[in-house]
Amino acid sequence: MVVRVEYDYVNARIKGMKSCLLNTSVFETLILKPDVESIITEMGNTAYKDEIEKASVQYSGIRCIEVALRKDFTNAFRKILGYTKGDTAEKYLKILLSRWDVQNIKTVLRGKNIHVTSAEILECLVPAGELDDMTLTEMINQPDVKAVIDLLATWGIEYSKPLTRHVKEYVEKRDLAVLEYAIDRFYYENALHAVQGDSYDDSLIKDMVSTEIDVTNIKTVLKMIRDKIETEEAQMFLIEGGRSLGSEKLVAMIRTGTLEGAIKHLETTPYHFLSKLAGEGKVGMISVYEKELEKYLIKRGISRFFGDPLSIAIAIGYIWAKYNEITNIRIIARCKTADIPEKELRGELVYV
């Protein structure tokens, strides 16, 4: 018998959690609410009740919703991670988690680079990843960018490696982006490295990560083309390990020099849906393409629910669904603050 992670219990819980996600009718009511306050009240009747109540003590309005959503998402994540503690599944979740670590490290570095106050940096951190509050606070307390990296190295946190590697370049160019690229790249490489095996779980995560790389690369290519950046330079920002787009294809896309041309290259790939968009006269706005790509990614993530019920697939599906839900709620709430008409609001949402 193959020894596998005890997914039955975990996945049953996750499925239970999934059934607590809001259904479309709740979304409809949220959309129809006239202002942020009534959205808060309505959310008090949903699974977000606890966090909304807690947040409403300290904050009000959009801030209350955002804090509650962030907290709820972190909680959901921590909960799932708690079930898988010590299991091999933990590895997969950590890949997903490290996204926040990367974001947090970047925020701290950016803040240190322009000497923002510690309190302000702390406000922008989302301690959902492996780096806990203590580590983050200690990082913020360091005097400069290099000291932050040194601290990471001292405490044996792996992100110090890519950062240290590029310190020299950073100091020469005085450009923080150097370090950011290093850590972004490291994230993807690390994620791919962790799922080299050929088990179902490994291949599943690998598929998700490499799809994400594809999406990121397409976005990068489009941005490069729009800003007319030289092919040689642009090439440096591509990430290896995409699912269906190799670096040659990407370079060819950049070479075309036009958004339409680049997108035409995608016709034989799973991302052909972009070419339909190009015909609709919305060319030029990268965010329009980006939205479609993200929709694709989210749909792909959520569709994992129909994968092997005794695998990491369920957790992935749930996390994406939750992410989607939280984003949608945030969009609704944000649009209410600016009185965006309902029709346009719907356009912004990602329904899956």
Partner: protein, 640 residues
């Protein structure tokens, strides 16, 4: 029977609201609906009732919850709590809120400070542990270098891939410090090297600014330990840790003290406020216009007149009660109101455990009340066991009067033990074959079979299957009625087809097995052929697979016989083992033990399987469920 419900709308002047709510509360017939859900966007006339009161109670509750979280838990003291509860309940809303705010003011900042203090200490301990680990790792290097006055020691971590950076560093140091420095390197772990450099303090700035731009990491220590020798640092860490622990213990102690003083009060306050919030939340369901209020709800048809009169008596014509027409869409599903005689009530509880029926469905609970005890009795089938279960259930009922769910379960056991005793007489069982051996009772001979469960294996199996056929057919028949009530002809046809196909199958099987005249085989085949298209029309091709699962369901009733058998065999074993013992007392003890075990099993297993036969085999034929329970607005919210 499920009661017919009427949707009503109560409209009246706002000043009477409080009073109307009181009247409705006392009449206890209205299942309230949330008016705000029916308010259309942009409707400026009708608004949700303001519930500012609710807002501050919710806030207070959150704060009290926070205080509660910080305090260590202490055992509830019911006597004291009841006392506090009495005084609290006498207070008006304003007084209660004021009281709560006073308590919060007294405790919140203290508990918050304690909590922050505690988390800070944990933080610090965590940091100390991390620092200690690093110090331990690089300490060996320190001893290799002499400590000199006016010199600075810096530790470096170097990735192995940048090993040559160390060479550059050495050259740079030669230049900066004019060769007045010391440098040592040692492997740290697989990927890193650890180096130590010591140089005159006057070059400090220079050296650090050089290091800043290199692919080398300096070891960063918490500021308070910076520049101290490691032995001292370790000592400091130890001291700090001790201090932290002491402080933590002190904090805990203080919290405990606070808890002993205030816990009971807080617990009661929380409960009272929660109740108050629940009561207040009712108001959130009402709608209002400038001068009037609107209450929406469901009233059972038979109580409608009573409710109307109650309102009319108090308010005359000031209050209008409108009966609304039922809208056919699903959103407007009326609540399900079981109104069964007391003997069926416990079985409603079983239904609710899974899913209450919808308003338009047939309520299965009376049928469960009929069949459940029969199945249970058939499986237990022992006079003594039945009697013991009866006594046990009665005792439990008496002992735990407040546990509603236990009361329900025990009621079911009481009801079910009666058929158990009957079937015990029928099978001639009293502690298995003990009664028979003693010559007290004998199995009854009925329809040419002596119903001794060990010998009459095949007749029992037949009986079980026959019950299965009957039960499943009953289910299918109810399914047809339900489908017609919901206007879904397809389903009705499918179920009818299923009845015919199964009948046909039975004829064929029984005919070939020569249990019935073989002439009936052909009509059976004809029935199958005729009814198959009906099923496929009603349920698609997967409907055809349903035939197999229905047959499986019928066979599943064999468990009635099998579990009964298991019970008998265990009883037999008990008696035999007990009887074979040399010493009578030992034999008696062993037999008693096994019988007790068997009785426990007999309470559990037949219960579960009887339940299962209803939920899986029977209900799946007609039951949809997912209704909401009628909860009238009255005292005792848990009533359900």
């Amino acid at each position: 029977m499920l009661q017919k419900m009427k949707k009503v709308q109560v409209i009246g002047p706002k000043k009477d609201l409080q009073h109307v709510v009181d009247v409705l509360y006392h009449s206890g017939t209205v299942h309230l609906e949330d008016v705000s859900k029916t308010i259309l966007p942009g409707d400026t006339l009708l608004r949700r009732m303001d519930t500012e009161k609710l807002g501050d109670i919710a806030n207070i509750l959150v704060k009290i919850g926070g205080i509660f979280l910080a305090l260590p838990k202490i055992k509830d003291d019911p006597l004291k709590q009841a006392q506090i509860c009495d005084t609290l309940l006498k207070k008006s809303h304003q007084e209660l809120v004021a009281e709560a705010n006073r308590v919060i003011e007294e405790l919140e900042s203290t508990t918050k400070n304690f909590a922050i203090n505690k988390s800070n200490l944990e933080f610090d301990l965590n940091r100390l542990a991390k620092t200690e680990k690093i110090v331990e790792r690089i300490r060996p290097l320190e001893s290799q270098i002499p400590v000199l006055e006016g010199f600075e020691i810096t530790f470096l971590i170097v990735q192995r891939e940048f090993r040559d950076a160390l060479e550059h560093l050495r050259n740079a140091l030669i230049e900066i410090t004019r060769n007045q420095f010391e440098m040592q390197s040692e492997p740290g772990d697989e990927e890193t090297l650890i180096s130590i450099i010591i140089f005159n303090r006057k070059y400090s700035e220079h050296v650090h600014s050089y290091l800043f731009a290199q692919n080398i990491n300096e070891v960063r220590m918490p500021q308070e330990f910076e520049g101290k020798p490691f032995s001292q640092v370790l000592q400091l860490i130890e001291e700090r840790r001790k201090k932290d622990f002491e402080e933590m213990a002190a904090t805990d102690e203080q919290l405990l003290k606070l808890s002993t003083e205030r816990y009971q009060e807080l617990a009661v306050l929380k409960k009272v406020l929660e109740d108050r919030k629940e009561e207040e939340s009712v108001y959130a369901k009402f709608g209002q216009t400038e001068y009037t209020f609107v209450i929406l709800g469901w009233v059972p048809k038979k109580y409608l007149q009573r409710t109307k009169e109650a309102l009319k008596d108090t308010f005359g014509n000031r209050i209008i009660v409108n009966e609304l027409l039922e809208s056919p869409d699903k959103k407007d599903e009326p609540p399900t109101f079981y109104d069964n005689p007391a003997i069926i009530k416990p079985f409603e509880f079983l239904m609710q455990m899974v899913s209450p029926p919808k308003y338009r469905e047939i309520d299965p609970s009376p049928l469960i009340a009929l069949f459940f005890p029969i199945f249970f009795g058939l499986m237990v089938g022992d006079i003594a066991y039945g009697a013991i279960i009866l006594v046990f259930a009665l005792i439990m009922k008496k002992k735990y009067k407040t546990e509603l769910w236990l009361q329900n379960l025990m009621n079911i056991l009481v009801i079910s033990s009666i058929p158990s005793i009957f079937f015990g007489w029928f099978f001639g069982e009293f502690f298995g074959n003990f009664g028979e051996k003693m010559g007290w009772i004998h199995p009854i001979t009925f329809m040419g079979v002596t119903w001794n469960r060990i010998d009459a294996l095949v007749p029992l199996l037949m009986l079980a299957i026959a019950i299965g056929v009957f039960h499943v057919f009953l289910g299918l028949f109810l399914g047809i009625i339900n489908a017609l009530a919901k206007n879904s002809k397809k389903h009705a046809i499918e179920k009818a087809g299923m009845i015919i196909v199964i009948t046909g199958l039975l004829l064929v099987i029984a005919g070939t097995a020569k249990l019935i005249p073989a002439i009936l085989v052909q009509p059976g085949i004809v029935m199958i052929i005729v009814a198959l298209p009906l099923i496929i029309y009603g349920g698609g091709f997967f409907g055809a697979f349903e035939i197999m699962s229905t047959v499986g369901n019928i066979l599943s009733y064999a468990r009635i016989m099998a579990i009964g058998m298991a019970s008998v065999v265990l009883a037999l074993v008990a008696n035999q083992l007990g009887g074979s013992m040399e010493v009578a007392l030992v034999g008696f003890l062993i037999a008693a033990l096994l019988h007790i075990l068997n009785i426990i099993l007999a309470m559990f297993s037949p219960f579960l399987h009887s339940f299962r036969l209803h939920m899986v085999e029977f209900n799946s034929k007609f039951f949809e469920g997912g209704g909401k329970i009628y909860k009238p607005f009255c005292k005792g919210k848990e009533g359900g």
